[in-house]
């Protein structure tokens, strides 16, 4: 199915895509049919630079298991980082 559900967040950072590094300011997260990954549905994340148009995007499609592992890894990394780093 197409879920039609999309989480949108403001982000601050950079991502590297086909044309090199871009400043990304928005992120969208959704679980839906992938374009490339060999699964029925994947957890998809788009890191977006809207001012660059539709191609201003770095995309990942992860299996749901991979996505949950990624969330844990991100949380663990942030929690274990020395305090005070900016």
């Amino acid at each position: 199915m197409c879920t039609y559900l999309t989480e949108k967040i403001a982000i601050s950072g950079s991502a590297k895509g086909a044309s090199g590094w871009i400043k990304v300011t928005e992120g969208t997260v959704y679980l839906d049919h992938p374009v490339h990954a060999p699964f029925g549905h994947t957890l998809n994340i788009d890191f977006l630079a809207p001012e660059l148009g539709p191609a201003g995007r770095v995309a990942v499609e992860l299996s749901q298991e991979s996505a949950r592992a990624l969330v844990k890894a991100i949380e663990a990394t942030l929690e274990s980082a020395p305090p005070g780093l900016e």
Binding site: C2, V35, L48, A55
Partner: protein, 243 residues
Amino acid sequence: MYDAMLAESIMITGHGGDTIEAYSARPLDGAPRGGVVVIHHMPGYDESTKEIARNFAFHGYNAVMPNLYWRDAPGASPDDAAATARAKGGVPDDRLVGDVAGAMAYLKNLSNSNGKVGTIGYCSGGRQSFLAAVSLQLDAAVDCYGAFVTGEAREGTTMVPIVDKTPDLSCPLLGLFGNDDQYPSPAHVDQLEEALKANGKNYEFHRYPDTGHSFFSVNRPAYRPESATDGWQQIFAFYGRYL
């Protein structure tokens, strides 16, 4: 046997008089032909759906697929366009109907048109094929596993069920579904069938065992060759009767 066909990107007039891109595939032998509006799935106006349009031309139909994301991302690659359209909230129902109406007009104006036009859509396009058929005067419509025709509205989306529009269905409906699909589930399909029966509509459903969603998609793990092969036969038999 002369079997040349022409497949090309064109511009058509869509909803609100907007000029939008479309992909046209049509036989060139000059015989009168029915037309098919191919409604692409949510992942976009992509290579696999263009192949479906060419398949209809190969089988003797004029086919056209409007790029439903043209306004959101003109000229973008299909995946980037789909992501952009999604971030903007997707395709509004009224815009879809206007774009299908524009595609119908294009088909009916072709010199080899026999005046008949049907629609087909897969996944989100299945719902949109039904939406077109309850909104426009069509000759046939095919709904391939479209979710949210029936069932409950999903929180957080603007996608609403449209089964209440069944009395307005303008043409015979062919529905193709997998029994292992959850959206639409067999219960959702039952609900649509009950509405069609209650309104005395001409419909034909085929439900495939051991088959889930997206079973026509040859490039996805959900592909089910046996179900898809039978489904294609049902589609061409159906269009053969009504287009």
